[in-house]
């Protein structure tokens, strides 16, 4: 295979052109040589190393331009049990009204972020494997509130800050009163059965993994 030989080219050009033209040509060729040395060869080197050690170069280039792509490779996941599954997100406020003769004289409104789901799914599946394989989703347990996070509070009228704060104070009973208020509100407004059904379906799809065979 022939390659670029600058000396041969130089001699050939010397025969054909005058010196001024040759100088320009040589300058140009030197320029190309510099590009080759400092840009093309190093980048070829980088790409070659990339493609040998880092997988597909197309993937890496794509990855540079589309930054939102998220790739998660999970290896050795066999040892990892399904601890909890998350089924719903709820943004909710509970409003406690202070009334006098059926008139509202004060209120405390607190807003929460609530996560609903199941805890210890793996152990539940293992315990109930035989029983749950033949059951329908309706017979599965209710999901639980996994976490609540107070976002904001609004206090009006004859309701004190202290009174309003007791909703998130767990020191007396060990449970935050807001937790009860949230689940009460969800049940009272008919929202809970829908959350429950959705959650039961999700749990069922996990259980089915261990029941259905190929």
């Amino acid at each position: 295979m022939k390659y670029l030989d600058l000396k041969k080219l130089h001699n050939f050009l010397l025969l054909k052109f005058n010196k001024a033209k040759l100088i320009i040509a040589c300058e140009f060729l030197t320029f190309i040589k510099q590009i080759l040395r400092y840009i093309i060869i190093p980048s070829a080197l980088i790409i070659a190393i990339y493609s040998f050690f880092g997988g597909s170069i197309f993937y890496n280039i794509k990855h540079l331009f589309f930054k939102e792509t998220q790739i998660i490779t999970a290896t050795h996941i066999n040892s990892k049990p399904i601890d909890s599954i998350f089924t719903s997100f709820i943004y909710i406020n509970t409003t406690d009204l202070k009334k006098n003769d059926n008139k509202i004289i004060g209120l405390c409104s607190r807003t929460y972020e609530v996560s609903v789901g199941y805890k210890d799914v793996q152990s539940f599946i293992e315990k109930n494997r035989d029983a749950s394989c033949n059951e329908t989703f309706q017979s599965l347990p209710d999901p639980t509130i996994l976490s609540i996070n107070a976002v904001s509070a609004q206090i009006e009228g004859q309701y004190s800050q202290q009174e309003c704060d007791t909703w998130d104070d767990a020191s007396k009973t060990g449970l935050r009163p807001s937790l009860g208020a949230i689940s009460m509100k969800l049940r009272r407004e008919g929202r809970w059965p829908i959350i429950k059904e959705n959650s039961q379906h999700i749990l069922m799809s996990y259980i089915n993994l261990y029941c259905k065979q190929i």
Partner: protein, 190 residues
């Protein structure tokens, strides 16, 4: 041959070789193909539940005006609710099982999560006086607009977080599948 040019040729050959090696995929055997079919049918069956996240937004609007002791306080509390589903269009996903160097890999490619549906309703209104006028700076407030705007702001605010949650819930499901059938998982969200 000049050494630099020699090296260049070598590297060019290297690049072409590595591209061709990567584009070659080993043939699937029947067992793998059956497992792949089974997993795809399982995913399609569970898709309405595992490929989406249910989010409920319950907001309230409170207008409260303390009046003199002989008058009733003006209170106006309205509850609003919206249910939003975030999820993936499972038909746009790609699920396959590849065998790479004696490892079975479950490859899942999912599209961008999107807002699938929204269902909004006004839940309740509590007030001392049905004729309470909600005024702000002596101007009557367009409550409908105000509440809708607030609800939309909150939905927008939580959208990125809920997209992430939908992704992690879906990932967990595929992890369980891979775990069940002793596969390694490679999941990609676009």
């Amino acid at each position: 041959m000049k050494p630099i040019i020699k090296i260049t040729y070598k590297f060019i050959i290297c690049i072409f070789l590595s591209i061709t090696i990567q584009s070659c995929t080993p043939d699937q055997n029947i067992e793998t193909k059956n497992l792949e079919k089974f997993i795809i049918s399982k995913v399609l069956e569970d898709a309405p539940y595992i490929a989406q996240l249910e989010a409920i937004y319950m907001i309230n609007y409170i207008y409260y005006k303390d009046k003199a002791w002989y008058q009733d306080d003006e209170a106006y509390i309205r509850d609003d609710e919206a249910k939003v589903y975030y999820g993936f269009n499972i038909n746009k996903s790609k699920i396959s099982i590849e065998k790479i160097s004696n490892k079975m890999i479950l490859q899942v490619k999912l599209p961008k999560p999107e807002q699938i549906s929204i269902d909004r309703k006004i839940k309740s209104l509590k007030t001392n006086d049905q004729n309470t006028k909600v005024n702000f700076n002596d101007k009557q407030v367009d409550l409908e607009l105000l509440i809708t705007t607030r609800l939309n702001t909150i939905i927008k605010q939580y959208e990125p977080k809920n997209f992430k949650l939908a992704q992690s819930a879906t990932r967990q499901y595929f992890e369980a599948i891979a775990n069940r059938y002793n596969l390694d998982l490679q999941i990609e969200f676009n």
